[in-house]
Amino acid sequence: MSTAAVAVPTNSVGISNLPNQRYKIVNEKGDHFTIMVCGESGLGKTTFINTLFQTTLKHQEPRRNNGPIKKTIDIDITRAVLEEKNFKLRVNVIDTPGFGDNVNNNKSWQRIIDFIDDQHDSYMRQEQQPFRKIKFDLRVHAVLYFIKPTGHGLKPLDIETMKKISTRANLIPVIAKTDTLTQQELSTFKLRIRQVIETQEIRIFTPPIDESILSNGSATEDNSAAIEHARQLIESMPFAIVGSEERFTNDKGVQVIARKYPWGLVEIENDSHCDFRKLRSLLLRTNLLDLILSTEEVHYEAYRALRLGNSNEENKDSSIPINTPARKLLSSNPHFKEEENALKKYFTEQVKAEEQRFRQWEQNIVNERVRLNNDLEDIQSKVKKLEEQVKNLQLKKR
């Protein structure tokens, strides 16, 4: 009792200390955060992740030496524990190497979508277990979609993939390698992307702005600053980023993370050069919890409601622990479907060939039989002839 009393001011009950208790618990437990990077190869995804966490989380892929060009999309998970001021954050980084690199990119988003759905699914299953203490949770909290800095607009592949992702996870579009776009080009490019995103009804993640505080007039200074910050973030979407892992000294003599060109030094953490700081603020500093909570509340709930709702309709009389039918993954994947068709075709062809062979065989046998029968007849007739001859001879003898 006495220890608790120390922290609580003497004239209050102590309820106001609750947030502090909470803080302590969270601090000890740590948290986890899963981020997915998605985009064509060579847009600087790996570099960006390393820049974001300021360590070499992911190593550059070793160059494929010999061997043919890969045609598949992989899912590549990197796990790490980051510690800052004794607070531990477990970070899972999911990369999708091979996305958009082939000649035919139709359906190449399927692997990514399936992965996100699978995580929701496995989490839901774990929740339904009688003992559900240990949870293996890889639900994706944020998807960074890297857009190629063409200066033109979004490609159909980008649009299709972003549409699909945005219904399942928090989507944050970023323009990669913006050090090849001048200010003017960048602003037109951003404008076009925003137009397309709006008209195509792609829902990107936006930091929540609590309008009610403003309208109620109860805005404190702290609140309004936060709102202003969120506004700025929304305005500069999609974020234009530059990534680097190297440090250089700029003209003010300060060591900064930057890219060094013969014509200048691009400082990553300089707001007039790129939006990296804004993006980091959105991802980590101010809105990390929003990302995690909205995944839990919006996307996971939507998935769960859909799955459970569906299965309820199918077997209404089943009792509470509903056995959700396994997701029909196999039949859904178009690649598998193609493969299945090919196999079926192959199978029928094989059967046909075998049948043909058997028929031929049968024909041969029939032919053989006819031939043998003929032979037999011949021999029989010969025998008859001979017998007759014998008879004749015997008659003559008498």
Partner: protein, 531 residues
Amino acid sequence: MNRDSAMPANLLRRKKDTKRGITYTMLLCGRDGVGKTTFANNLLESNIFSHKYNVVNQITAENESKVKVISPTKVVSYNSKNGIPTFMSELDPSRAQFEPGITITSTSVEIGDLADETANEDDIILFNLVNTYGIGENLDDSLCFDELTTYLEQQFDLVLAEETRIKRNPRFEDTRVHIILYFIEPTGHGLRELDVELMKRLSRYSNVLPIISKADSFGKEELAQFKKTIMKDVELYNVPIYKFEVDPEDDDLETIEENQTLASLQPFSIICSDVKDKNGSYVRSYPWGDINITTDNISDLKVLKNVLFGSHLQEFKDTTQNLLYENYRAEKLSTVTSPHIGASGKDNTANRASAAPSLSNFASLVNTGQFKSSQTLAMNLEGARTPELKEPYDNDQASPIKKMSQALKEENEEIIKNIKMESPLINDHNIPEKTKLRNISETVPYVLRHERIIARQQKLEELEAQSAKELQKRIQDLEKKAHNLKLREKLLRQQKDHSSSSSSLTTASSGTQLKKEDTLTDLASIASGRN
């Protein structure tokens, strides 16, 4: 007299060439957004070409003395899965999810010698610039391969037909592509499947010169590393690109040295820009510094220009003519005329009989072609040719298609008329005995044309069917959308009626509710697709 005949052969040819002007055709190829258009503008030091989504009607060559547009940009070939042309349209966000297909355009300009300032004033190059749009933008890019190779093949066919004809056309324009610039994206990772495949296919018809565009995304060491990676990949996948080779026996020291330096620079890396600074030189200005695009140690643009218009122009033309075209010709002629050649050696009656199929084939085309073309083209055909690029497309999709089909129809009819006029023999069944050569010269052009016409007709029919299908689909989609919207409106109205009595609480939350509903319906549709 004597002096004239002592003139070296190549000089003579040069003189002849300059009198007519040198024709020179270049194809720019590479994914959308790597800077082809900007490069084209920089190359000609003008702003003839307008950017995607940014159609400007400004065909004003700033350097009037050097560049003159003869025929403005026109679409020469076009294909798309949904059959709807997108070239040079304004950005339409609501249609951005449709695949743009591939468009090939051609622009002819007349230029004075850009690279060589000291050259004669009347040295004129008739420069054809062929540009491609839409590579890498489609979900499935395999369409682009065929379209490009067909285009290049067609140019060869045209020349072949002209060569073998009895009456030559004095105004014939050689549109064979002499050099293809393949733009590689600055990924830092090496070549992709598309790059390898495309370069391999294109190299059968022309010299392919890979260049790295937007080199301003690389630091010095990164650029060197990337160049090395590209060359390694080129070796690894056996991509037959143009190499600056040296022949120690034939070439003089200077050429050897030059080629060696060029080979060491390959693949060229370039930086292009549309913006001029106060001094009139093109720059890219960033918050962290300005780049002058002609600076030698940053961008190889100057070197590349020199190679393209100066040192290697004739070389590119020669390899196209003497090696690639000859190969193609030998191959083509042996397939087209092999029956005649085989038969003509034996006796003449057999020759006539064997010649008959291709000729009669052709005759049947003449007889039926008119009928066929008018029949198929009557149904609103969509064409490979737009009459004029700068004509604004209406929102109504039918009108450009109609125009195209009209133009094509006329052209087709003209071709058929020409063929009829030129070959009185065709309808005459008593064909006199011919030599082998004559036989070839009479059949080949027509067979080639025949092939071309049929191929084009097929393509048009396909395009038409696709566009009809696509339009149908879009109409259905729109109807569905309208229906959904109506339903939603009804729902909202009902909700409003319900909640109007209670309080404003529900209206505030209806926004978020709607959002969730959207997610649900999308997921539901996907799930239903699965089952």
